[in-house]
Point group: C2
Chain length 312, copies 2
């Protein structure tokens, strides 16, 4: 189909794009004004903590890929109403840097990755979500009330997340190497993982980023399953935090609670049974949540007769 | 006194210099071949973890200041036998970078800051030392046996040290802010310290260096003394680790055990009474320990007829 012809066919000339950007990748999802799925795109890291320009480039790249998949040319980006959900924008400085960006969209609405994940998990409705991927956090939106828990970042928090699990494992292994902590198979396993002994391990991992430590999380789950007491204690500690976080979210009486992220499936059997029983499958992905957000914000500002809808 | 005349008077033309370089400063101490104190120098950071060239510059600067205080001109640096003790050189890559350096000394002998601290604390004799400053570690040298414990760096270990104490306090404050950890006066105290609330605090401290967190340690000791249970638990946990580390060192039957570093005095009353009772005052500073090391290494290589004593 000819891109220009297709562009002209769109209702009001508007397309809705949802972006979900995190520390490892950026996903885009494009739908028509009527809600029909048109295409998707996948680009590199988009957490502005690791570089604002890199995040902006990933967002544009994912958007253009989604437009291309849908058969539009790049120029159609100025017909796009984008809901952009990013990790890291809970930090005020980064929120401002992205929100003030001279973006190429007709209109951009910014929110947190948590908010979009929640909207996606509950198809735009009320609910709560726990994200345990590289980091950890919780979010709930019920009526006019909302709450964010955690999201403090790797160094200061993120308990129960993959990077936290990996870091605890390395710390425990080094204590064991000094015979100042419980004996654990983690020591040999981590040395084997990096093909080196302790002094080089300290050199390799000292100051490493969260994604490096998160690579070790599967190894911790594996050893805990095989009866390693130190690995098991790390996971119990992490699961206890996620239990407490879930209870805080359930205090707000959300109609649904979902748990997503790379560690969610492994951690679920370690949660308290009564809490695990309340966790529902997410209905849609976070980038679909970003579209729900973009639609409601766009409806709000157009209903308010906001003269700034068109950037030009 | 004319510098050239003085230079010619020195026994064998050799002066002994001791260097103690860490993350915040570099100290130099100069003595004659006969052991008389000649001068000292103080320069900036010399932990090669934070930059190899910067460490080398600080070492030279501290050395030249010590020579100047002793009345020598800068050229006398090639009469200097230097014992250089540095933090960070337990990492093999950094050891090689400093050891292979085309330094300006007649001869340079490299060792760890821990080794020099131990030699200094026990006036060149056998003994053990615990260092609790920004980080934490232990070292013992008894006869032909030696042991290093800890020294894993801020992110991976350093339990009980100032940076670890500060980081635990920030983590506990953020958990308290989410009502997912015990209530603690640390939350208000840390916010007041940085004149900001939690979201800005995460921005301010996320990814901060060890010295930034170490600044918070006095605040934790202060609140624990005033009965804050969370602050007290952090210090108990840190002290328990230092107790265990001390017991490991005492297993080697060192004739003396000393504890040094910025947090040592505050932590001492929190150690187990039987352990605290065995801790002796250090006899000399680490840079004097570096001189003991330089003397014995120089005697060893000259006795062995090492033809490479003169670098030229």
């Amino acid at each position: 189909m000819d891109a220009k012809v297709k562009s002209a066919e769109v209702n009001d000339g508007v397309l809705f794009l949802g972006i979900d950007g995190g520390g490892s990748k950026c996903r885009a999802r494009l739908v028509s004004a009527g809600g029909d799925y048109l295409g998707s795109g996948l680009a590199g890291p988009a957490n502005p903590v690791n570089g604002i320009e890199a995040a902006q480039e990933s967002i544009i790249r994912a958007a253009l890929l989604a437009l291309q998949e849908a058969g539009y040319d790049d120029g159609a980006i100025d017909t796009v109403v984008a809901g952009v959900a990013l990790a890291g924008v809970n930090i005020p400085l980064l929120w401002r840097a992205i929100n003030d960006w001279a973006h190429p969209f007709r209109r951009m609405f910014l929110t947190t990755d948590l908010h979009a994940a929640c909207l996606g998990a509950h198809r735009g409705g009320d609910g709560a979500v726990i994200v345990v991927g590289t980091g950890s956090c919780g979010y709930a939106s019920v009526g006019s009330r909302s709450a964010t828990l955690g999201a403090h970042g790797f160094q200061l928090g993120d308990k129960g997340g993959g990077a936290w699990i990996g870091l605890q494992a390395v710390q425990a292994a080094l204590l064991a190497d000094d015979a100042l902590g419980g004996e654990t198979a983690l020591l040999d396993a981590i040395q084997a993982f990096y093909h080196c002994r302790v002094p080089e391990l300290i050199e390799r991992l000292g100051g490493a980023r969260s994604c490096e430590f998160a690579r070790l999380a599967p190894l911790v789950f594996d050893l805990a399953a095989r009866g390693d007491a130190v690995a098991d204690t790390i996971l119990r500690d992490g699961a206890a935090y996620i239990d407490a976080l879930a209870l805080k979210l359930l205090d707000l009486k959300p109609p649904r609670l979902s748990m997503i992220g790379g560690v969610a499936a492994s951690l679920l059997p370690r949660l308290r049974a009564d809490i695990a029983a309340q966790i529902c499958t997410p209905l849609e992905p976070p980038e679909a949540g970003s579209i729900h957000f973009a639609r409601s914000e766009y409806a709000r500002v157009t209903a308010a007769g906001d003269g700034k809808v068109l950037r030009a």
